[in-house]
Every structure is written in C-alpha cells, then in structure tokens.
Amino acid sequence: MHAIIDPLLVVVLLLNFFLLGTSRLQAVINSSAAQGVLLGLLTIFVHEGITLRAALVAALAIVVKGLIIPGMLLRAMRDAAIRREIEPIIGFLPSLLLGALGTGASLIFARTLPLAAEHVGSLLVPASLATVLTGFIVLTTRRKAITQVVGYLVLENGIFIMGLILLEAMPFTVEMGVLLDLVVGIFVMGIIINHISREFSSLDTARLSALKE
C-alpha cells in the first residue's frame, strides 16, 4: 500500500514547495488544484479494496478541490485582473526554506506520535502536517487575498490527508458536510474578494489594515 501512497504524497509535498516558490498566481492556483486531484486519488488507494464510499468521496474531492474551487479562484483572479503575487513579506527563497524546515519538523513531530501498525512508516501523518504548515506559511507571508485563500485551501488539503487515515471513522454525511462547508466557505471568500477588489481597487491585504488599535 505504501508503495502507491508514499510517492503520491511526495508529489503533494513537492507541490507544496512549488506553491511556496512561484510568484505566478495562476500556477499557485493550479498547483493547489493538482494537490486536490492527488488527494482524491489517494482516497482510493489508501485503503485495501475500493469501496463505493471511497470512490464517491474521491470523486467529490476531485470535483470540489480540483475543479470547482480552482475555477472560482481563477475567475476571481481574472475579475481582479491580477497575475502575480508581488514580493511576499519574507521573500520566495526564505519561504522555501521555511517550508523545508516545516516539513522536517513535521517528520520529527510525527515520529513522537504512536501509530497504528498499518500506518507505521507511512508518510501520511508527516505529509499532512507539512501541508498544513505550508498552508500557514502561505497565509502568513503572501499579500494577495487570493493567495491567502489558496493558503487556506492548502491547509485544508493537509487536513484532508489526515482524514484519509480515518475514512471509516468519519460518517459519509459528515465528510460531505465538510466538503460542502469548504465550497461554501471559498465561495463566500470569493464574494468578499470581489468586494475588496471593488472597494480598494487592489487585492493587497496590506490595504486592509484600517481596523487596528
């Protein structure tokens, strides 16, 4: 099982680095979409035998994370007529380094957590944590509102990886609820982004700092 999953997870991690290193917004969105598709695939492989349920979750994940959400983001990007992430708060290279550091830390931290026999040696937990951290890095260092949404999406992806282990534990309805919430959340964020670009004629969140002490 690890044989299929771990390489896929490595790709997910590489996508994380790509996200951190690139300045083109479209690439950022696309890589998050790719991550979403990969996660969908992982859903199928993570358990022995393909159940109907796993297939359904996988399909929905691919549709939501790989198509709907990136679609919404791309549209928002076009509406706001922006292409690039301007120089992030700590630069691309430092963010890459931070990402590497985070991934390393995740590997170490995951080792302190006892795993069930079937998960020992798997990359699932560290990859999940690393992706969550990547999401945080994007959220805290990128200036554009859209990029921050992508950061949130990556964060959610990381959590989704964790959820893969527990596919049986989560009832299907809940799984669907989570995905629905995600879609609606991103949708609402999209609306707000739309308003931001209209009111502030920019998606730079640095401008959103009127409310302070």
């Binding site: 931290f109 945080f136 959220l139 805290t140 260092t141 959103l208 700092s209 302070k212 002490e213």
Partner: protein, 660 residues
C-alpha cells in the same frame, strides 16, 4: 422582630425616590413624598434598632435562590448602633435636601438624586444587618453603585466626573478585596455566615483574611493611604450626600472591619498594632492635609480621614487588648471607637450641612473667597461652630467624650508592662494630642476665614440665612452633639451592649464600661463649665451693655496705624496654614508657586500654593499614566495586519504543543 421592622424600614427608604419618578418634572409632591417615606423608614429603622438593643434576637432567614445566598438578617447591638446612625442622618439629609436641592431648582437631576439617595440608605441599612456574606456583599455593592450615582448627580461638571471615576475604581478595588476575603472565609469556615475560620486554619490564611479586610474595608472607610477617592468625592457631591457619605457611608467600612475582627478570638498582636498604626497615619496626615486645603468641603473631607484614624486607633487598642488579654482595653478602645463613629456622623453631618448652606447661599466653596458670613447667616454660623468645637474633641461636646475613651485606653496601655502595649500607648496618645491640636488649628482657620472677619468677595456678600428646612436638621444634629457631650451616661448602655456583641463565643472577661469611663464626672464637668461660661458671659454682657454704667462704642478694627485697610488684606486661609504646612512639608509636599521679584519696583505678582493629595496626585495618577503608556507599547499586536493574526494562531498551537 427587629429584623422585620428593619426590612420594612429598608423597603420604605429604598423606594422613597420612586413615587417622584411618576410625577411631572416640576411637581413638588415627589420631594415631599420622598421625605415622608424616609421619615417612615427612619421611624421604623430606629424602632428596629432600639428593639435590638433591648432584646436579643436570633435573626431571621429566608431562602434566597442564588449560589451561596441566604437572606439572613440579624440585628445585634453592633448593627443597631450603625442602623440608628444611618437612618437618622439619612432622614435629616432628606429634609435638608428639601431646601437645598429643590426640585424646582434642579428639575433635571432632582428625581434621580432622590431615587439613588433612598436606595443608598436602604442598602447601607441592609448591609450592616446582613449575617450572610453574600447578602452583605450584594448590599455593599448596591451601596457603592448608588453612592456613585448620587455622587455624580452633577455629571455635567468635569470635576464631578473625575472624582466619580476615582471613586468607582477605588471602591471596585475594595470590593474585589472583599470578594477574595469572603471566598477565603467561605473556604476556611465552610459557609456563608460571618463565622470564624475553623480551628485548624493556617495562620497565613487568617492573616490573608485580615489583610484583605483591612484593604477592602479600609478603602471604603478612607484609611490613609487608601483614602484617595474620599476628598474629591465628598467635596463634589451635593452637600447632604456628602453628609451621608462622610457621616455613615464610610463607617460601613469601619463596621466591616469591626465585624470581621469580632470573629477572631485570639488575633496576633501585630493586627492591633497595624490598625493602630494606620489610625495614627490617617489621623495625623488626614488633618495635616486638611490644613492645606482651600476648599471648604474638601477640608471637611480630609477631616473624615482624620476621624477614621481616631476610630482606628480605638479599634487598634481594642484588638491589642484582646490579643494580650486586657479586657478593659477592649471596652475602652472599642467603646471609644464606636462612640466616635456616632459622634463623627453627627458633627461631620452637621458641618457638611452647614458648609452646604454656605455653598448654597454664596455659590463658592473657596475659603479665600468667603468671610464675614456670621453676620448674614447667624444660625448656620452657630451650627458650624458647634460642629467645629465637637470635631476638635473639645469639651463639653460629644467629640471629647469619645476621644476621652480612646485616651483612657491608650493611657492604660501606656502604663502596661507589655512592650507592645506601652509603645502603642506612648506613641498613639501624643499623636492623638497632636491630631487634636491640628484639628483645632484647622477649624480655627476654616471657621475664621469663612464666617468671621469681612467678606472677601462678591460671593460672600451674597450670603443669606438658610431656610428653615435646612436649619432644622442642623439644629437636631447640633443638639445631639450637645446632648452626648453633656450627658454621656445616656449612651453608655448602648455602647456597653455593642461592645458585648463584639466578643466572640469564648470571650475574655471585660469590666463594665461605666466602671472604666468617668461619664458622670464628664457630665458634671461639662455642666459646670457651661454654667461658669454663662455666668462670666452674663457678667460681661451686663458690664458692656447693661445699665450699670456699661459703655461701649463701635469703631473700625485697629490696624496698627495702616490708613487704608481692605477686606482683601485679611489673613487668608492659606496664610493661616502656611507655617503649619511648612512644619509638615516633608509629608505633604505642597506645591508653591512664588513669584520672582527682580527689581526694586516689581510688577504685580501672584503667589499660589496648594497641597495636592500625596497618594492620588503624586503617586497613583502618575503611575497609572505610566502604565497606560506602557500598554500602548503592546498595541502593535493588534496592528490590523492579518498575516500577524494568523501567525498568532499558529504560534499558539506550536507553543501549546511544545508545552504539553
């Protein structure tokens, strides 16, 4: 029986302002109804107190559905003393208010003032009779809040808002100390009754309880250095509210302290010493600060600090007596303290009412703007003089009687072999003498500048005698001062009952008060003194005015040859105080703005000196300002930067994960 009466009294008093709310703003009936309600409440309240003094009541208890609450009341002799005082002063203040704060003159805030005045009275009466700590603290806080609301009656004035804020913050600090105190008391005694900590309680906890009580109750009582709210609050409240606050509200702090100390059968010696020390500090510095004031009501307010100091000295003696097994010290100290609680209420109430009359007639509280009012307001003058003589502890008025008790306690302590006792007596008795002399100086200054001499401004020229509604309460208070001063045996049984009520279960043998205090002689001496004064005065009157060859002529004051004296050349309050302020400059830190005279013919210049409150203006305000500036340093945390906000979340996770 007494509790039921008291509840009715509380209900009447607390609702006294309510009927007025349903009347028109200009309606006169509201104020009269309020006074009438208050009259009923006071009658019932006094009846309750007198019942409690004569019969012992087990108290009443009703269920009260709040956590830890129990509507438990018990009026013992100690409570009764305070209840009497509360209702008498509240009623007199309420009548005074009919003339002083007429609805017609204050349509916008008169109703509000009377509403909260009534609630304040009710809350105070409830708190001194509560035997459940939750009920106590609830009444306490209602009292605090309503006092704040009456105090800020004229909140359109910035100075009133300022003192209101200082008051509400300091009083909150005190309330929180009491929260901790009662929580500790609950933990150590296992209940919400006023009960001593269980036997095995560690001394540290008992000490904590005591210190919290000193802080919490001391803040309310205005014990120096916790007096910061008091001068401003008393100066800026309407005068009958000042009278009520100074006369009884701050005494609830004393009540709390006395009640708390009553729980401990065997307090450590240093408790009494601490209270005694605080009393000396309050007494001496209270009066020293009073001397430096230019504002009549502020001056009176500092005298409240002084008198609280005297009360604390008495309480300290009583505690020392209890610690060291000296029953007579307990009787004299506590008896003196409790009688002084009454006396201070009477003469300070009288002084504030008289000061209010002056303020009402002239529109200013500034001493150096007044003068020569005696001729225009003879009765107010007499009232103020009575209060002044009484507050200085001079015979033959009431202040002397209570101070005498405290002195007797101190001298007995000074005669003892125990080091704590003789030191306490040898320090406190001369300190009390100093306090008395300083008070005399201060009231000579206040009385002299306000009422005697020539008027210094147009304000003083406006003065006119107060209305009967305002004079009558003053007359009652002055009468009470005279009666207690001349006939102290009248109050001896009440004091005896209250002192007995203070003893815990296994008390120490205490001699009876009348065997210790020479009340009969005081009475005799007072009457003889009055008789002699009357005789000589009569002789002088006959001599100067009578038919037997008496001649008198009226001329201007001899001014040592100066040709054109003016009223402004009179000795002012500031000049009177200057030498004394100089003596205490090390503690008062007066601010003096003296002009620099450079040439032989200098330009007109002004000289100004004032004594700001050492603790409030020199210590607390600057340090709070500093702390506020320090908080600005962390404001960047909330700088509007979303990235930082997300980072906080992440960091919290990481720190907590690492910390686990």
């Amino acid at each position: 029986m007494s509790e039921t009466l008291l509840l009715a009294a509380v209900a009447l008093a607390a609702t006294s302002g309510v009927p007025g709310l349903f009347l028109r703003r200009t309606a006169k009936a509201g104020e009269w109804l309020a006074a009438l309600f208050m009259l009923g409440g006071a009658a019932l309240g006094c009846a309750a107190a007198i019942t409690a003094l004569t019969t012992d009541s087990p108290g009443i208890t009703y269920a009260w559905h709040v956590p830890g609450g129990e509507f438990a009341l018990r009026v013992d002799a100690l409570s009764a003393m305070f209840i009497l005082q509360i209702f008498v002063l509240a009623l007199l203040g309420s009548i005074y208010g009919l003339g002083y704060w007429r609805q017609a003159e204050h349509p916008s805030n008169g109703r509000k003032l009377r509403l909260f005045y009534g609630l304040l009275t009710g809350a105070m009466a409830l708190l001194v009779s509560a035997s459940n700590t939750m009920l106590f603290i609830a009444a306490w806080e209602v009292m605090t809040l309503t006092a704040f609301l009456t105090l800020t009656t004229e909140d359109e004035r910035a100075s009133v808002r300022e003192v209101g804020y200082v008051y509400i913050v300091s009083t909150r600090l005190g309330t929180l100390c009491l929260f901790a105190l009662f929580a500790l008391l609950f933990t150590t005694s296992g209940g919400f009754a006023f009960a001593a900590p269980a036997l095995g309680t560690s001394p540290t906890l008992s000490t904590a309880i005591f210190l919290l009580g000193v802080a919490g109750f001391g803040l309310k009582a205005g014990v120096m250095p916790m007096h910061v709210w008091l001068p401003g609050a008393h100066a800026n409240a309407p005068s009958h509210v000042s009278a009520l606050m100074s006369g009884v509200l701050i005494k609830t702090g004393i009540y709390g302290l006395v009640r708390l100390c009553s729980l401990f059968a065997n307090p450590p010696v240093w408790w009494g010493s601490l209270i005694l020390g605080l009393g000396i500090v309050s007494g001496v510095f209270g009066v020293a600060f009073a001397i430096g004031q230019h504002d009549l009501k502020r001056l009176l307010a500092y005298h409240s600090v002084e008198n609280i100091g005297i009360i604390c000295i008495g309480l300290g003696v009583a505690l020392l007596g209890r610690s060291l097994g000296r029953g007579e010290l307990v009787v004299l100290g506590l008896g003196g303290a409790l009688l002084h609680v009454w006396n201070h209420g009477l003469f300070k109430g009288l002084l504030f009412l008289a000061a209010g009359s002056v303020l009402h007639a002239t529109g200013t509280r500034e001493l150096d703007q007044l003068g020569g009012i005696a001729k225009r307001m003879p009765w107010t003058t007499l009232a103020f003089l009575t209060g002044a003589v009484a507050i200085c502890g001079l015979p033959p008025l009431n202040g002397f009687v209570s101070e005498l008790l405290v002195y007797l306690g101190l001298f007995r302590a000074a005669g003892s072999q125990a080091r704590e006792l003789w030191l306490a007596g040898a320090l406190a008795a001369p300190a009390l003498a100093l306090i008395g002399a300083l008070a005399g100086a201060c009231f000579a200054k206040a009385f002299g500048t306000v009422f005697l001499g020539e008027g210094r401004s147009a304000h003083a020229a406006r003065a006119h005698e107060a209305s009967v509604l305002m004079l009558a309460p003053m007359a009652v208070l002055a009468g009470a001062c005279v009666v207690i001063g001349l006939a102290p045996p009248l109050v001896a049984p009440i004091l005896q009952a209250a002192v007995d009520a203070w003893a815990p279960e296994a008390g120490l043998a205490q001699p009876a008060l009348h065997t210790l205090a020479p009340f009969g002689y005081v009475s005799l001496a007072g009457l003889a003194l009055l008789g002699a004064l009357g005789t000589v005065a009569l002789w002088q009157w006959v001599k100067t005015r009578g038919a037997a060859g008496g001649r008198q002529s009226m001329v201007g004051t001899w001014d040592c040859g100066y040709a054109a004296p003016s009223a402004r050349m009179q000795y002012t309050a500031s000049s009177f105080a200057q030498a004394l302020i100089g003596l205490f400059a090390w503690g008062l830190r007066p601010r003096i703005h003296a002009p620099k005279l450079s040439s032989l013919f200098p330009k007109p210049a002004t000289f100004e000196s004032h004594v700001p409150d050492l603790i409030l203006d020199r210590l607390l305000v600057p340090s709070v300002r500093f702390a506020t500036r320090a908080t600005h340093a962390v404001r960047f945390m909330q700088g509007g930067n979303l990235h930082a906000y997300v980072l906080y979340v992440l960091l919290t996770v990481l720190v907590l994960l690492w910390w686990r």
